[in-house]
Amino acid sequence: MSAPLSGDLAQIGKSVVIKGELSGSEDLYVDGQVEGSISLKGNSLTVGPNGQVKASVEAKGVVVQGKLEGNVQASDRVELRKSAVVTGDIATQRISIEEGAYLKGKVDIQGKADKAAGK
């Protein structure tokens, strides 16, 4: 599966390994390895089928096709595709999980009121 093409999409290829804090204001596609934290508050993170992310994630939307280990805070939605393996707690407004996806963790569906109150 190839990464979606977009003018505002940063990509981390499958041979790339990054350790540290990642933050930005554009969508991010990770098909390599990232360890640390990812903060994309107004944008989306996609973990590709080869992606291996060990990080706390804060983003507007999160799509997982590969492996993600860490807590996820998504202000809009989280999508776990059928090949997703996620270990960590998920807090979001909406979530979709394809059959075959693996999740170990808590799912917390937050309404806008919850988010505003910082719950």
Partner: protein
């Protein structure tokens, strides 16, 4: 390797028949009424926010069911977790077992008295012998006092090839059952023959009789049995 569980199965080996045989199609989804789930419905419909632990395969339907009602749900697939190759060890007699301490160091790691409800589904019937009692002990500790646990057990009429299902909550007392088909060869299980020798799913490890079930849950305050028509006993226990 002839394990205790395999020998135990020989005592109870029966033929798969009736509804069980009809359920073996991998793509087929069955529905069944669940009296145990129906009993729990009173909890779901209450105003209190519950903390629920689902130990079956990750189910979007179950997550939606509980989150729509304002409850918190945790998902942890212990059967898949038990196939981790690093768990394989040997006991004092040299028999291959799974390391329950390591398993519990990596799984079911929650504060004491954290959950109102644990949905065990058919986990005890398919979990490796060396993990069953330690896991039940841990589940007792993470349940709140008066917390409830729902588990399904095959009766002696179930054969060893009874398919392992994932369970999706459809209505208050209706479950959709879907045969688990393992995706990867690596999920066959660390001990090979003991756990998941068949290539596409988990294998029934044993059949508990009523006394075994009572012993398994002896630390719990009460136990209630529901006998279903599909060779399954539902058990609802209260801590």
């Amino acid at each position: 390797m002839a394990s205790v569980s395999q020998n135990f199965m020989k005592l109870f080996r029966g033929s798969s028949s009736g509804s069980q045989t009809a359920a073996t199609s991998s793509s087929q989804k069955l529905t069944r009424r669940s009296s145990g789930l129906g009993e729990l419905t009173r909890l779901w419909e209450s105003d209190a926010q519950l903390c629920v632990l689902d130990l079956g395969s990750t189910s979007a339907a179950n997550i939606r069911y509980f989150t729509e009602r304002g409850h918190r749900i945790y998902s942890e697939d212990l059967l898949v977790a038990s196939t981790e190759p690093g768990l394989v060890t040997k006991d004092e007699e040299g028999k291959v077992i799974l390391d329950s301490r390591k398993f519990l160091a990596d799984n079911l790691v929650y504060p004491a008295a954290h959950f109102d409800v644990v949905l065990c589904w058919n986990l005890p019937d398919y979990l490796d012998e060396s993990l069953v009692r330690p896991v039940m002990g841990r589940l007792w500790s993470v349940l709140k006092p008066q917390g409830m646990l729902l588990a399904f057990f095959h009766t002696k009429d179930a054969g060893p090839d009874s398919p392992c299902y994932r369970f999706h909550i459809v209505e208050k007392d209706v479950l959709e059952m879907q045969k688990i088909v393992l995706k990867r060869e690596s999920r066959r299980g660390p001990t090979g023959a003991i756990h998941t020798a068949i290539s596409d799913g988990f294998r029934l490890q044993r059949v508990f009789n009523n006394r075994h079930i009572e012993t398994l849950f002896r630390d719990f305050a009460s136990i209630k049995f529901f006998l279903a028509r599909d060779n399954v006993r539902e058990v609802l226990v209260v801590r």
